[in-house]
Assembly symmetry: C2
Homo-oligomer: 496 residues x 2
């Protein structure tokens, strides 16, 4: 059976009264999802993945119509999205995400300890604000939705106007699949409209927010979430410059390879990646900016996600190019409406340090700022001035001493790359997508298996009768999940 209310909400622009309906349904659904088994939720996630894969030939062209990202990229992104849903299903079944912990009574501790058993539980209904630049993977059925559903949190997604039809169709498919797989009514709803989004973050039934988008919009919603009578966590992935440091030795050894690699990374998808390498530090006098412009070649305009994004890109480029400390080395800052074409800018560490407010800004689109440094101290000062980023990268030669570089890159970023370009974010246990503010608003990741921790809170049961405990905390561990017992980690029974 398909939940009719979900489909209605998914296909009309709701007013706040409709949001109340969705939120009440989510609250009722939570009574079921909070008590659901890991196996049930894994089945829901897999059903959603299967349904999306089955509709690939419909969804990919629809996404391309709205987002102009090309069918190859979008086919890959849909595959990534459904693989992600299935990975969360696997992780739920594995059971570590509950952090199940058993402490038996101990009269010898200070103070004496009763029987304590702890696990993580779902927070409650979660609001998800998808991104413009990933119509599948960071959107209606993306990582925030998948990780929230995996933990047992109902989800209300705010549809993104940049791909509204795709969002509605994706929601229909997901809602139907969830209902067919036995998930409760109200577990997943799409809502639309700016005002509704604002009301969503403030709605009493919402217990957390996942957001991917701009610093300006994200910070405004963060402020709303934090100033509620009952503040809720707002997990925002907002803005990043993603500095790249190229050492002298690396540039000497393989300048062409570096220029080609960087050109591919910063122009990919019209530069519309939150991990876009926006600032590249190179030794002074290396003429790397010119070499990069050559590698980019004749830049042709590429349609951007929205006219607004294209306008913002053009405006950002204009401001940078108009700065006395910046040269336009490749491409043109005269952008066509709705499109972006690759631009290589160049500056110096001195200029950047002198005016960080003007030069260290995310310019969302196919551009990068090549910054020449006199010595490593100056380069590291620029990295520090960039501050919180999703990624920071270094290109060095094998055996080079990186002992001064790595601590600084680690200080500013959530992911530190060696010899790589930051675009492309694998979905795995060890992934970290989120760094110091303003790149994100929390010390968590929005990509990878540990993204689930954002939507859980710990509960301890003290001296509970065996029969009221969740299966995962019962003495004999019927599901065989990994647990910590009396301080000692006990691996899953099926593992070695």
């Amino acid at each position: 059976m398909t939940d009719q209310s979900v489909l209605i909400a998914a296909t009309r622009t709701p007013v706040p009264a409709e949001l109340d309906v969705a939120a009440s349904a989510a609250r009722r659904a939570f009574a079921t999802t909070v008590a659901s088994t890991s196996a049930e939720r894994a089945a829901w996630l897999r059903a959603a993945a299967d349904a999306l894969d089955a509709h690939r030939d419909e969804l990919v062209p629809l996404a391309d119509e709205e987002a102009h990202l090309g069918t190859a990229r979008l086919t890959g992104e849909l595959a990534r999205t459904t693989a992600q849903l299935r990975l969360f299903a696997d992780a739920v079944l594995e059971g570590s995400y509950l952090e199940a912990t058993v402490d038996h009574p101990d009269a010898t501790t200070t103070p004496p300890r009763p029987d304590l058993r702890r696990l993580l539980r779902p927070l409650g209904p979660v609001a998800v604000f998808g991104a413009s630049n990933f119509p599948f993977a960071f959107s209606v059925a993306g990582g925030d939705t998948a990780s929230a559903l995996a933990t047992g949190c109902p989800v209300i997604v705010k549809n993104h106007p940049a791909h509204a039809r795709l969002g509605r169709r994706t929601a229909e498919i997901v809602a139907a699949a969830l209902a067919d797989a036995g998930a409760p009514d109200g577990v997943f709803t799409l809502v639309e409209g700016y005002e509704t989004g604002v009301a969503l973050v403030q709605h009493p039934e919402i217990r957390a927010v996942g957001f991917t988008g701009s610093l300006h919009g994200g910070r405004a919603l963060f402020d709303l979430a934090s100033s509620r009578p009952d503040p809720i966590p707002f997990y925002g992935e907002l803005s990043a410059v993603n500095p790249v440091l190229i050492t002298t030795a690396a540039l000497d050894a393989r300048a062409d390879e570096l220029a080609t690699g960087l050109a591919g990374s910063f122009t990919q998808g019209a530069g519309q990646f939150c991990t876009n390498p926006g600032l590249v530090l190179v030794p002074a006098g290396s003429a790397f900016a010119e070499r990069l412009a050559d590698a980019v070649g004749q830049a042709s305009p590429v349609p951007m996600l929205t006219d607004g994004i294209a306008s913002a890109f053009a405006a950002g480029l204009g401001a940078l190019a108009g700065h006395a400390g910046v040269r336009v080395v490749g491409g043109t800052t005269e952008q066509q409406p709705g499109s972006g074409s690759a631009v290589v800018l160049a500056s110096t560490a001195t200029a950047v340090i002198a005016d960080p407010g003007a030069l260290l800004v995310e310019c969302f689109g196919p551009s990068t700022l090549v910054v020449e440094y006199a010595d490593l101290d100056e380069a590291l000062d620029v990295v520090r001035a960039v501050g919180g980023s999703l990624t920071a990268s270094v290109h060095a030669e094998p055996g080079e001493d990186l002992s001064r570089i790595v601590p600084v890159l680690t200080e500013v970023a959530g992911r530190v790359l060696f010899g790589g370009w930051p675009t492309g974010v694998a979905v795995s246990w060890a992934q970290q997508h989120g760094g110091p503010y303003p790149s994100s608003t929390g010390a968590h990741t929005s990509v990878g298996m540990t993204a689930m921790r954002r939507f859980q809170r710990p509960v301890a049961f003290q001296d509970a009768p065996e029969e009221v405990l969740p299966d995962e905390l019962k003495e004999h561990n019927p599901l065989g999940i990994p647990r910590r017992v009396d301080g000692v980690l006990v691996p899953p029974v099926s593992a070695e």
Copy 2:
């Protein structure tokens, strides 16, 4: 060598300029602590514990002079505090707190996966606001300080004026012990004064705050932390009513035992516990409030922590007692200045539901509100109306069906007790001290080993050369800590 600047800061009331000195010292210390080994930090924690134990005969009387909690309780609290420091040392050496995760490259995933290695790193300098009611365990060298230092975060403690001399002396002892054990200058500083505390939460060098105290003060500081240009996490443990539900069967079976147990719990330490059972639900017509008043007996005034706390207690009692829906069953609301004497109040579920804003308030001191319910539905409605609490408890008979009760208790609390009283918080891996707002401001615990997670953020290293990786992420796992490798949990090498 003792860090002279720490001692100066610990013995004078600093102005913001002195805070800048402390914060700069903490930043410099962080450069060392972030690169320190687990073994080094474990040694620091143990040195602090040993030094505090060695000064027990000086510290306990000093604490009793200021806090009036009695030497027996304070001796136990100091032992708990030093045991806690040593437990964090053990946990740091065990290594799970780093959540070390290794994903080897895999070209078959969608998208293809590079080599990714992730662990949790310290956030940076942390501010700690200790509690009035635990001069040792939730104060200068309490759980927040211990868990922050354990992860490698320098700590700046705001001294509590209710036990300022004890705070200064404790800080001197801890600072000297840390310095002797090789911890860097600036790793631990005490500051004083209301204005300094406000400035501390807003100081650019501070990366997180641990707070235990009132809802009013805590929320004000939370708002400051959240509205910074760069918001930082504020882990506040604020306020709780801690509902207790007694079933008809339990009351029929052992009313005297329950009255005695409750009397001991709510009057302990003059009721000055954040886990004080402030509201107890009993079947209507059971005359349990009268029985409880008998169990309390002749209540004599006990000195409270501060005159302000005593005044607030008297005012809160007066407001409750003046409410048409409340009866004073035992003790008197005419309290002596500076003291609190036990008071038993009684009301009904109907009255409470009708005016939750007046009746469901934390009254910090030796009082409890016995609320009579007509049936279980009504009792659960009251629990829901109480909302976010540190604890929720049920007293039932063996074999009673708790399937409707447990979900509601779990919904409102971080710790759910069966047959126990909530005062007394064991320090262990499975402990959870923190529940839905307003009992705390984050989905984390301030007691127990997982308290460390509050002061860490994840960092992933992509394709890093072996030599730049932290030891915990090197391929051969030299420290033998538990890790997740390619999705599979690998227990520590020394464990079975």
